[in-house]
């Protein structure tokens, strides 16, 4: 394709996007001369260029639009919604033809005769008693029509001067012909066209008379020298990658210069450091785009939707110039569009209903974007009916996502978040706009894919706000480097709140001073400014125990069982606590050492490691070694710091109803529980809803598949997990010698089945007890008292996942192969 055609396509594409926006804006302020002039100019430019390039069909369509616009501009017509729709339809037709040109080099086969006729009819209609413009419209319409011919001539002349290549070769003559052919059945029209043509000719003949510079200050003639050039996106991406590599090399250099005591070399590397940082920032900026770029499509979307839903909606946008990385902009486009459609369809009521509710019949949909703490927040607010908590509860019940008692107890906030579950829709009827129940879950997944979060707030009768939080960029982030078990890990600073270091004496006598690490029923906590901060041992979460035991210097007990109560306080040396924020919940991560902060280049994890929830990526450090980036929300969830109901499906996307039910369980506390013994003292409870069957086997049936204990069960091989190995407990001789049978709680998830071996099944109780989240161990939700015993409430799926990672995840077992 010709370079010139390509340029035309790119330019026209941008012009059309602007046109959409301007037309909609024009509809609300029809008297704006500036807007009208701008719209006219845009259309005229396209028309001129396509005449020059020989796209006759495209020219015809744009010409029809232009004629209509010229009458509008000359105040012979006033804009109403019919005209706007006609013009928007023209924009669509042009867009369609441009796509055809892009694909085939020709402007398509379609002639758009009905559209051209519609535009002509609109143009020829006498000025209506304007419904759209109240008040000042009368004055506007009394503008002398005598001025028309003159002003038309002026503009034609002006554009002829402004864009000589586009209009002069085509010339007034060649333009006249197709016009005459276009509407043969309408004799009036022809006459008009001829007259118009004459004006054109006149205008072109006396360009000097045209006072264009005064009347059209935004003339197409560039007043200032061109300061922008077009650069391919791939080039920017490549640049970004190279800068990433440069940052890595810089880090290596700095490390080297630290070792070499050469002053000259250090000076050079310092300078290099500064330049690299600055270069990185600048390159990042080239990829930054104002969020307004994607918002510019929304006025049109809103207008069209409002018409099709028979609603009146005003769109307000704030913070259009908030900048975001290109890749992120692309990624949030669809989720945002969906949220807007949703707000229009479900949120804002019909004018009649709004009037009855005492609200302005015109609904307001507002978009707001702003920076906050290295993140971009986008809020989509409507002043509609709000979410109906009860209806969501009812739907969730119907779909079996929650149980009745849960529904009754769930706070509204949690209920609202149910709408992010797959397949959830409360729309009474499915419309072509929304209501099919796909969407909100896709919104959530897409936003989470780029490291963002979605939250929804709603007040019945007052409206709904959806808040989307997204990172500024994905490529290079500041991070804190820590070590644990001899390995280095990076923690993104976005989730970092503060660092706390406990000196040995401080942590040593925590009990006395109340300053060190204390235990709440085995769960380590630290008093941070008077509040208890749950602590998570990184080495324990990552199952790196063996390594840490080897290094003699580290002696933080790895098993904060009640049995270890004392050792934890006595043996701890300096303790480093990294205070992290995940999903609005703070927790302290205990690491071996805190090294430094560093800019790291995030590289995605390979597919084989996608299932590991504790890491969000990897990076290459200054010394050339690979370091893993901790996924703070994933880690928090793993460690059960945050209630899972608030962070469903963050890393475990596919656990459907089964899982959602279990999630909902955790926020509700009345249910049927299976009680079992673990060791001679320990009692555990398992929600009956997660129990598929209870089985008893003679121990001889247990076989081994490698390191995994398995058993043949109903024609399947199911892996066995011993609870006593996950939650260690002391057992007396009687238990050890009991070889009569093993008791197995069978848990099924999809096609996967796992057997959990417990020491003894005690009872099934209907319990309504307050569960206290004391024991922050993977798979243990909390503790409560039943039948006079302190009992740990287990989350079986989480327990199994923690014990044998991957047993429940990954592809379905492929039985046919065996």
């Amino acid at each position: 394709m010709d370079e010139i055609v390509k340029d035309f396509l790119i330019e026209s594409g941008e012009n059309l996007d602007r046109l959409d926006q301007e037309l909609v804006q024009l509809e609300s302020e029809p008297s704006s001369t500036e807007l009208l002039a701008s719209v006219f100019r845009t259309i005229h430019t396209i028309k001129g260029s396509c005449g020059f390039l020989g796209f006759a069909r495209l020219e015809k369509v744009t010409h029809a639009g232009e004629s209509l616009l010229s009458r509008l501009r000359d105040r012979e017509l006033t804009l109403n919604s019919e005209i706007t729709s006609g013009l928007l339809a023209m924009v669509d037709a042009v867009r369609h033809m441009l796509a055809a040109i892009q694909a085939s080099g020709k402007d398509g086969e379609e002639d758009y005769v009905p559209l051209i006729q519609l535009l002509a009819r609109l143009r020829d209609e006498p000025a209506p008693e304007s419904p759209a413009v109240p008040g000042n419209s009368a004055a506007l319409q009394q503008l002398p029509t005598v001025a028309t011919a003159e002003s038309a001539a002026k503009t034609e002349a002006e554009t002829a001067v402004a864009s000589p290549p586009s209009s002069s070769p085509a010339g007034p003559k060649s333009r006249g012909k197709p016009r005459r052919r276009k509407n043969p059945p309408n004799p009036d029209n022809v006459g008009e066209v001829v007259a118009h043509g004459a004006q054109e000719a006149q205008g072109a003949a006396h360009p000097a008379e045209a006072p264009a510079p005064q009347t059209m200050p935004e003339s197409r003639l560039p007043d200032v020298p061109v300061e922008t050039i077009r650069v391919g996106v791939t080039l920017l991406d490549r640049l970004m990658n190279l800068v990433g590599e440069l940052v890595l090399a810089r880090n290596q250099l700095l490390q080297l210069s630290g070792c070499l005591q050469d002053v000259g070399f250090q000076a050079v590397s310092q300078r290099m450091n500064l330049i690299a940082t600055e270069l990185h920032e600048e390159v990042m900026k080239t990829r930054m785009q104002p969020i307004g770029n994607i918002w510019s499509k929304f006025p049109r979307t809103v207008r069209d939707l409002a018409l099709s839903c028979h609603k009146e909606v005003r769109l307000e946008m704030k913070g259009q110039d908030t900048e975001l990385d290109r890749t992120i902009i692309e990624a949030i486009k669809d989720p945002l569009t969906h949220l807007i459609r949703n707000a229009m369809d479900h949120g804002i009521e019909e004018p009649e209903a709004r009037r009855r509710a005492g609200k302005d019949p015109t609904g307001t949909l507002s978009l707001r974007a702003f920076h906050e703490g290295g993140q971009v927040n986008i809020e989509i607010t409507d002043d509609g009916a709000g979410l109906n908590g009860d209806r969501i509860r009812q739907k969730a019940l119907e779909r079996g996502l929650i149980t009745a008692p849960q529904a009754a107890r769930m706070p509204d906030r949690d209920v609202f978040n149910l709408i992010f579950l797959p397949g959830f829709s409360t729309a009474e009827k499915v419309t072509n706009v929304s209501g099919r129940g796909v969407g909100m879950d896709v919104v959530k997944t897409n936003v989470e894919k780029i490291g963002g979060a979605v939250d929804i707030q709603s007040t019945p009768g007052r409206g709904t706000t959806v808040r989307v939080k997204i990172p500024l960029t994905l490529a290079i982030v500041p991070a804190l480097i820590v070590t644990c078990g001899g390995e280095r890990f990076a923690i993104p600073q976005v989730s970092l709140s503060e660092l706390v270091r406990l000196d040995s004496e401080e942590s040593g006598d925590g009990e006395k001073s109340g300053k060190g690490i204390e235990l709440v029923w085995g769960a380590p906590v630290y008093r941070l400014r008077g509040r208890l901060l749950p602590l998570v041992y990184l080495d324990r979460e990552l199952a790196m125990r063996a390594d840490t035991r080897d290094s003699a210097s580290r002696s933080i007990p790895l098993e904060p069982n009640p049995a270890d109560l004392n050792s934890i306080n006595l043996s701890a040396v300096n303790v480093n606590i990294v205070v992290l924020q995940a999903e609005g919940q703070q927790f302290g991560l205990i690491v071996d050492e805190i090294i430094d902060t560093e800019e790291i280049v995030v590289k995605p994890l390979c597919r084989q490691l996608k299932g590991v929830s504790a890491f969000s990526g990897a990076t290459i450090r200054g010394d050339g070694r690979v370091a893993l980036i901790l996924d703070v929300p994933g880690l928090a969830q793993r460690a059960q710091v945050i209630a899972e109901a608030h962070a469903p499906a963050h890393n475990t996307p596919a656990h459907d109803e089964n899982r959602s039910a279990a999630l909902a369980e955790t926020v509700c506390d009345e249910r049927a529980l299976l009680l079992a013994e673990n060791g001679s003292e320990g009692r555990v409870a398992i929600p009956l809803s997660t129990v598929a069957r209870l089985e008893e086997f003679p121990p001889t049936l247990v076989e081994r598949a490698g390191s995994q204990e398995v058993i043949q069960y109903r024609g399947q091989i199911i892996p066995l997990v011993r609870l006593s190995e996950i939650i260690p407990a002391t057992r007396d001789a009687e238990m050890l010698s009991n070889t009569g049978s093993i008791q197995v709680v069978v848990y099924a998830e999809g096609k996967r089945t796992v057997g959990l071996i417990v020491d003894r099944i005690v009872d099934i109780v209907e319990e309504r007890a307050t569960v206290e989240s004391l024991n922050l161990r993977a798979g243990v939700v909390g503790s409560f008292v039943t039948q006079g015993h302190v009992t740990d409430l287990l989350d079986v799926p989480a327990l199994v996942r923690a014990a044998v990672p991957g047993l429940l995840d990954g592809p379905e077992p492929e039985t046919e192969r065996i």
Partner: protein
């Protein structure tokens, strides 16, 4: 008669091969970053000139015994649909050219995960060349770590078949 070139390597005494065109490079042992909580067959991540590549312990993947202490593995970096993956092997052999006619599919008696990862066996003059299906060998999902022991058994049946 078409022939194919294989890059060969050894694992616990067995001779394996992957088509030369799939191999990006062969490099010596690299320092590795272990990945906690990862499936067992994943040994760690290596930095291959700025690219992060996952290293798969093929012995563990195929259910063979552990590498003897003190021996460092070699990296055979292969191209897969998801980028480069490094296969850790004991020793590198020659690049050999074999006729396609000498290929036989794995025996029916071969079961489990290994059967799934071996495309076939080339009958060389004095030994057998096991053709590794690299795509499948690199397809590690956590679930298959549990299946690995099954591979152990079945590899013994290869051994029997190979007359070892």
């Amino acid at each position: 008669m078409t022939s194919q070139q294989f890059c060969t390597f050894f694992l616990d005494g067995y001779l394996f091969g992957v088509p030369v065109l799939q191999v990006q490079e062969v490099i010596r042992f690299q320092p590795m970053t272990p990945v906690p909580l990862a499936p067992g067959a994943i040994e760690g991540l290596i930095n291959l000139r700025g690219q992060i590549v996952v290293a798969i312990n093929l012995r563990r993947r195929l259910g063979l015994g552990n590498r003897p202490e003190g021996e460092l593995p070699m990296n055979v970096v292969v191209r897969t649909d998801d980028g480069a993956v490094s296969l850790l092997v004991d020793e590198i052999g020659d690049v050999i050219e074999v006729e396609e006619s000498t290929l036989e599919s794995p025996p029916e008696t071969l079961r489990g995960a290994v059967r799934f990862m071996i495309l076939g066996v080339h009958k060389l003059e004095n030994r057998l060349l096991h053709v590794l299906d690299t795509d499948r060998a690199c397809q590690i999902s956590a679930a298959e770590t549990a299946a690995a022991p099954a591979a152990q058994q079945s590899f013994e049946s290869i051994a029997a078949y190979a007359g070892r």
